[in-house]
Subunit: 318 residues, 2 copies
């Protein structure tokens, strides 16, 4: 049996001594000016983005355990962006990184099977590089168990993982995730009715119980995407998912600091990785950082990556 | 201002006199044997799939108002499948069809912006064919308004449309969409607490109210994906969304017949299109149909497409 993803992630976090994950969300207009031209063709733009991402991966490789590639930002370059995405997954693997494909797919079972083939399973074709497939993907589980089952089965079989959306970082998501809201009553004696995100948490916890998903660490390869909100509700959610690793968005450009991520971890310092995207990969656009590095945008990204890695490192200690 | 998508869809339905939409979900193993080889390379498999889909589009073009391309089935062939997807959208447009991209994307606002660029907006690059972008896409709205807003703004600006998941066809989705379930009490005097799918329906209705979305027909270009379930609950949902067109899955291979789709329509026969995928495009695998056409798989698909189109045509009459 392959080593479960949860154990591989924990080993990588321990080896790098930080739960930091660098999120790669490339936008052409935000690239360093030396990589850009006026009115590029699609081919030229996709090449520039790929070159930028390779540099980010080079910097991340010795500093963090994993990178997260956000599929949307590659799909924006159509098939050329998708081709770059797969090449970059293979490149990150070659540099020793774990790779999370941030795809947020969610569809009925018969369609989910195809998404799992595309994004998590070893390729069925001899001319596709097996290293170009991520170690784990993010998913939307809103169509129920059959929408995640093909991914979970692949995860168990091939030592891969999933992170299912439970509490997103965007405040606008509360209109859905806080349903039915504070005014909803529960049947007498049963206390408060659960909110929708708590219902999703219970489902994701259950989906992670199956054979082949929990290894030596006790953690499951079915994880959750959980943004830090107030520490009370985050802590309660952490207790409600006692073996589910979390991928935590919201740090950095989205506003959360390291301390606000503490309730995402178990008391022993395990159980979560923290993602930062824009605040690291576009650090050269921050005047305070750029002032120290001039036109050396790689130097800016390196500084921001080091800072991020060390800022969240204390969260590993109980 | 461009003609709103809802009006274009209604015109196309009226012109073809059927609300039938052919869903294109190509699986290599299910292709007609003349298109398959043993252990194909990715390149060879993707080419065969594209050839098959062109034939389906040729058949659909004179019979139905629109085709729906399911992104998962193209992504399964990596970047080559994605390239085929965009070429097939352009091909269907050239044959006079409306095209729905079945992508079910749903992510936070900053990521949704990129997904909208990839899948619904006119291309920003001169070397990308504007005809290769679908007229409408399916979306998951579970991360709230900001997750659909970039698509809705594009829809209003460019005469395009979206269909947001409200009640999926997969029975497994009930574990999420019936939340908090029949046992949940409402505050006294307020009656039954809404189910999660009713909450989503109210959100989708509201998202469809904005400027530029409702044209001469009164229907909105923000539609919903709603599977027919029992006629009482489907009828109630239809009343709760008085200007929201529905894309209805579940017909054919998934079990629903034309009559069970009737509550998806308004009393005047407008307001819904019905999708069938496997029962049409793989009709040559049905022994009863194949017996009439021998090895002529196109003949089988043509017969199934004609049957489907005429089976659901009466739903247009009040």
């Amino acid at each position: 049996m392959p080593t479960p993803f949860a154990d591989r992630l924990l080993q990588a976090v321990n080896a790098r001594r930080t739960p930091a994950v660098v999120g790669i969300d490339p936008v052409y207009a935000s690239l360093p000016s030396e990589l850009k031209t006026e009115n590029p063709t699609l081919a030229r733009a996709a090449d520039a983005v790929e070159q930028f991402c390779r540099a980010i991966i080079d910097i991340a490789a010795t500093r963090v355990p994993a990178v997260k590639l956000n599929s949307a930002f590659f799909e924006a370059f159509y098939d050329r962006g998708v081709a770059a995405y797969y090449r970059l997954v293979a490149y990150a693997h070659a540099r020793g990184l774990l790779v999370i494909g941030d795809i947020k797919r969610g569809d009925i079972g018969s369609t989910a099977k195809l998404y799992a083939q595309a994004h998590l399973e070893p390729p069925a074709f001899a001319d596709v590089d097996p290293a170009s497939i991520p170690d784990a993907v993010t998913l939307a589980g809103y169509l129920g168990e059959s929408s995640v089952r093909p991914f979970i089965d692949s995860a168990a079989q091939f030592g891969r993982g999933v992170f299912v959306l439970v509490r997103p970082s965007d405040p606008g998501a509360d209109a859905v995730h806080e349903f039915p809201g504070p005014e909803a009553a529960a049947p007498p004696l049963l206390g408060r009715l659960p909110r929708f995100y708590e219902h999703m948490a219970a489902l994701v916890r259950r989906w992670g119980e199956g054979a082949g998903l929990r290894g030596a660490s006790g953690l499951s390869s079915v994880g959750a995407v959980v943004a830090p909100k107030d520490s009370a509700s985050t802590g309660a959610l952490r207790q409600a998912m006692p073996f589910t690793p979390w991928l935590v968005p919201g740090y950095g450009a989205q506003g959360a600091g390291a301390e606000s991520c503490r309730p995402c971890f178990f008391a022993d310092g395990r159980g979560a990785v923290i993602n930062a995207s824009r605040s690291v990969i576009y650090a050269f656009a921050d005047p305070a950082i750029a002032a120290r590095h001039g036109t050396d945008w790689r130097g800016c990204v390196t500084e921001a990556c080091d800072r991020f890695a060390s800022d969240v490192a204390p969260l590993l200690k109980s």
